[in-house]
């Protein structure tokens, strides 16, 4: 308890988590629960992206490709092989992870923008393939019309009428990815990744296996992103190539992480909890009339943040808090002196 008092950040975290766990018990409105689920899911994706984009500094703009692969793997396993999504999610992660290695080996030959470009191009190709073929490897995927999942219901099938079940599953996965990110940051791997981000050539000359480390980061990142994709498929019960392999989705995932604070543990969470609700409100209020508005806001916010606070929102918020604490702290010290 004393530790918690001494570290207000940690106390705040524990309180927030408790509040989030109790929240569905108090509020049962499906729309609110649904919104929270989406905030968690985007936070989860942004955190997964952060492992590659933030910690390693490899700006991927093709993470929708992993979302799509994950969603389709889970959906196909579920509808054609009667495989429980709990296993499907793991399979999704592995498929996307393997794909990320195949992509990574040629694409990591490039630095910076050209790596980013290759990820965009790849996602584009996946979208075309899924859009134009109604069967892939002999399995029906429904081309541009997408797939509707059959209803089986229950915990094993991960199909619930009450959205609150998804709330807890997604929250749990978000905690998991945060834990993994934290572990990576504290591990040897994390320091290697940070070295690569700061100066790749210097890291290589000190004996860091640059390609190996980048591939590891990409594998982990793709693995978790795809699990989120599988969850998304179960959450919506319907997927189509234009929504899961969308360039817009890749941009959103990246913007959330960068705006919050790329390369920090909490940045993606901050970004998602600030921006996803804005997107939800804009979509629900203006929706059909101004289809592109939410995305325009994302673009503009990204520009403003990069220009005025290159380290992201989190850094700025922390600096404000520090100033606040200094102001509050001063009179207390005076009292002690007397």
């Amino acid at each position: 308890m004393k530790k918690l008092v001494r570290k207000p950040g940690r106390a705040f975290g524990v309180l927030l988590l408790a509040a989030l766990l109790l929240f569905p018990a108090v509020v049962s409105q499906q729309f609110t629960i649904n919104s929270f689920c989406l905030v968690f899911l985007y936070a989860y994706w942004a955190s997964s992206w952060n492992i590659l984009g933030g910690y390693t500094g490899q700006m991927s703009l093709g993470h929708a490709c992993f979302v799509g692969l994950g969603a389709y793997t889970t959906a196909v396993l579920f509808s054609h092989f009667h495989c429980s999504p709990w296993i499907g999610l793991l399979a999704a992660g592995l498929v996307a992870g393997l794909a990320s290695l195949v992509i990574g080996i040629p694409c990591f030959k490039l630095k910076g923008s050209y790596f980013t470009l290759s990820t965009v191009a790849l996602c584009h190709v996946f979208r075309i393939v899924f859009n134009t073929n109604s069967t892939l490897f002999g399995l029906e995927t429904g081309a541009a019309q997408g797939m509707k999942l059959p209803w089986r219901g229950g915990l094993a099938a991960m199909q619930f009428l009450d959205k609150r079940s998804y709330y807890y599953i997604i929250l749990g996965m978000l905690l998991l990815v945060l834990l993994v990110s934290y572990a990576i940051k504290r591990s040897k791997l994390g320091y290697y990744l940070a070295a690569i981000r700061t100066n790749q050539d210097a890291a290589a000359s000190l004996g860091v296996n640059v390609l190996g480390m980048k591939l590891t980061a990409m594998f982990i990142s793709a693995f978790f992103t795809a699990m989120g994709g599988g969850l998304y498929a179960m959450f919506l019960q319907y997927i189509d190539p234009n929504s899961v392999f969308a360039y817009d989705l890749s941009v959103k995932i990246m913007v959330l992480a960068v705006v919050g604070g790329g390369g920090t543990l909490w940045g993606p969470i901050v970004g998602a909890s600030l921006l996803v609700p804005v997107q939800q409100i804009l979509n629900s209020r203006l929706g059909a009339n101004l289809a592109g508005l939410a995305l325009a806001v994302y673009g503009v916010v990204l520009m403003i943040v990069i220009y005025f606070m290159p380290k992201g929102f989190l850094d700025t918020i922390l600096r404000w808090l520090r100033k606040l604490r200094e102001k509050l702290g001063k009179p207390k010290e005076g009292q002690v002196c007397r």
């Binding site: 980013t116 075309i128 817009d248 325009a296």
Partner: protein, 293 residues
């Protein structure tokens, strides 16, 4: 059969010339400033809408519009560089300018979304006096709009090439791209050169927008599509090389038409991507590039 593929070759070459003009601006930016402008396609889209309305509402000849859009986009590029990008570049000197990447991708996203709101989601096709007319050369049909566009595109790319190689300003640009510090020591004003390079890059975008609009419908998804193609062309031709860009554009145009004729559009996109990956794997410096990096 042979006739069909020769027709595809002709169409591909004509289209490729225009693609090259779209991509050359991107290549120039990379060559001089080491930055990749992610808003390139979105700016092209805006210029295409501008031309569309100049042609439809004001009734100006579509090829004369080149001059207007070229000038307007030069100003846009110059100002963007002067007031936004330059500060970002200066802020991070040695590293790959990641912030510029993020900033321009934000700009591109915003522009694309705004275009959807303002102009709507449907594709607009400009009607020009040349639309639908074609020349018959033996068994082959050559679209008049594509032929005129091709000629203007190639001429303007060549003009740019000689500008960079032969004039004082152009050589100052090359010098800055080779070594910023030494160039500054030689008395070259870096900021001016950068603004000029971005201005010229966008002027080429403006010109190619007018050329494209004569045969290509504009919609808000054009931006992402052409960003993608331009990047492939720049990688094919070698980053920063103008002649490489011209060659890359022709290659991309021909591949697109060839595989489009043989299979379908989806296949041609996949083939382009495979080519892109193969080039990255085996000759990252591009077709004409020298092995340096």
């Amino acid at each position: 059969m042979l006739q069909l593929y020769t027709q595809a070759l002709i169409d591909g070459l004509l289209l490729g010339g225009v693609y090259a003009t779209v991509a050359v601006g991107l290549s120039l930016c990379f060559g001089v400033m080491r930055i990749v402008n992610w808003a390139h396609g979105a700016l092209l889209m805006m210029a295409m809408y501008l031309t569309y309305y100049l042609v439809t509402l004001a009734g100006i000849n579509v090829y004369l519009c080149c001059l207007i859009t070229g000038a307007v986009m030069f100003a846009v590029g110059y100002l963007l560089q002067k007031f936004l990008f330059y500060k970002l570049i200066v802020r991070e000197k040695d590293r790959e300018p990641v912030n510029v990447l993020l900033f321009t991708s934000g700009l591109g996203t915003a522009l694309t979304a705004v275009a959807l709101i303002v102009f709507g989601g449907f594709a607009l096709q400009a009607q020009t006096p040349y639309t639908g007319k074609s020349l018959q050369m033996g068994p082959f049909i050559i679209s008049q709009t594509k032929l005129i566009s091709f000629v203007i595109a190639v001429v303007s790319t060549l003009v740019l090439f000689f500008f960079v190689k032969k004039t004082e300003t152009g050589r100052a640009m090359s010098a800055t791209s080779q070594n910023r510090t030494v160039a500054r020591l030689m008395g070259i004003h870096e900021e001016n050169i950068y603004c000029l390079a971005m201005g010229i890059s966008q002027a080429m975008v403006g010109i190619s927008a007018s050329l494209l609009i004569s045969f290509y419908p504009v919609s808000n998804s054009v931006g992402v599509l052409f960003s993608f193609k331009s990047f492939i062309i720049v990688v094919l031709g070698g980053k920063g090389s103008i002649m490489g860009c011209l060659l890359g554009g022709l290659v991309v145009g021909v591949i697109e038409k060839f595989f489009g004729t043989m299979f379908n559009d989806a296949t041609s996109q996949i083939v382009l991507f495979m080519l892109f990956v193969l080039i990255l794997l085996f000759k990252p410096s591009g077709i004409l590039g020298k092995e340096k990096e």
